[in-house]
Symmetry: C2
Subunit: 191 residues, 2 copies
DNA sequence: TTAATCTCTTGACATTAATCAAGCAATTAA
DNA sequence: TTAATTGCTTGATTAATGTCAAGAGATTAA
């Protein structure tokens, strides 16, 4: 169906046969989420998994009166409320489009069928999740061992492109600091 | 081989047939790690996975001159350098016994053979890792949205027993604060 | 176009947490 | 038993970060 999606799948899930890739990608559907609209709402069913073809999605939660941004997904990233997708729990997160965003999306049922015709899939999938897990480990470690400025620099080095396209307050939140602190660090860091 | 281990596996990996459980648990070996000794050392091969039968293991890393405790595993917990176990990377962590500790341990090769005689294993395993992943999500969220005191209270409520057996400085580190801050919070929190 | 809204920045100030230094138990080693 | 060592606490101080308030510039809506 779509070569671009096949690339993303290959990127995240590793080497799979070209025909298989084609079959998998054909299970996805291309949809558009308008700026401000939600892919997934907190507390609702979240049985979808997606890859961002173009645009930006913000994953966040509400605590009291403030919103905490957990992550921002851009082109090529995969997006889901994993707990909802795997366990049918109500979504832990809100996932909202920051700009008009195109995503390749797949339902849980279709996704689970992949294992039926690609035996290897379960293993491949596990490797993918383990990689996600180690990213989370690193992220926690950054909060245990680094200052706000150090987290800023590390994130900036690896995600320069985001800074031009995303409201900085959201990046501040996902790095665990206020917009004011973020702004001051930015000023003194001069990158 | 061992009913206790079977309980742990069941606890972490969900419902599996009793015979299968028996088979799986027979692949594990019971070993003892003396206080201060290492289960896994940073940078070394880490192709083992274990369950703590009794005792305490501290997972930590060195940054400059300070040690950052990532986690403390007590009775019933599973322990591994996941990235090393799955991808054969050098270990990201040191894992050291805080007291004489008994663990049920399995090599990567034996572990991987489980899937051969229990077809369901790959799926079960995935669910386990996803659960670990959501725990990490929560932990990150706690650093984005909570103060040191709030993290302290949350952790204390869920891990009271640890406080009597583990040097508090390690708990402080794994909650992302200094021992001094931890001590002061403890004093004013009076739990 | 004008008004309203967002977003970022800045300043003044308050709070939180880290650092440094000392001391006191408790534990371990000699 | 005495002497180290370790782990925890406390005080004084400094540094980092948060809060509140205001303003400037850009964007959006009327």
């Amino acid at each position: 169906m779509n070569n671009e999606l096949e690339q993303y799948i290959k990127l995240h899930f590793g080497v799979i046969d070209a025909n298989e890739l084609k079959t998998i990608s054909s299970l996805f559907e291309l949809i558009t989420i308008k700026k401000g609209d939600y892919f997934i709402k907190h507390g609702k069913r979240a049985d979808k998994l997606s890859f961002v073809k173009d645009g930006l999605l913000r994953i966040f939660a509400q605590t009291g009166k403030q919103e905490i941004t957990q992550w921002i997904s851009s082109k090529g990233y995969f997006v889901a409320d994993i707990s909802g997708f795997v366990f049918d729990n109500p979504s832990r997160w809100n996932i909202q489009a920051l700009v008009d965003t195109q995503i390749y999306t797949i339902s849980k049922d279709k996704y689970n069928s992949i294992g039926d015709f690609i035996p290897k899939w379960n293993k491949v999938e596990k490797l993918f999740i383990v990689r996600c897990f180690t990213i989370m480990e690193d992220r926690i470690f950054s909060h245990l061992s680094m200052t706000a400025q150090e987290r800023y620099i590390l994130f900036f080095e690896n995600n320069k492109e985001l800074f031009n396209h995303v409201p900085l307050q959201y990046i501040a939140s996902m790095l665990g600091m206020t917009p004011e602190t973020f702004s001051r660090i930015r000023k003194k860091t001069l990158l």
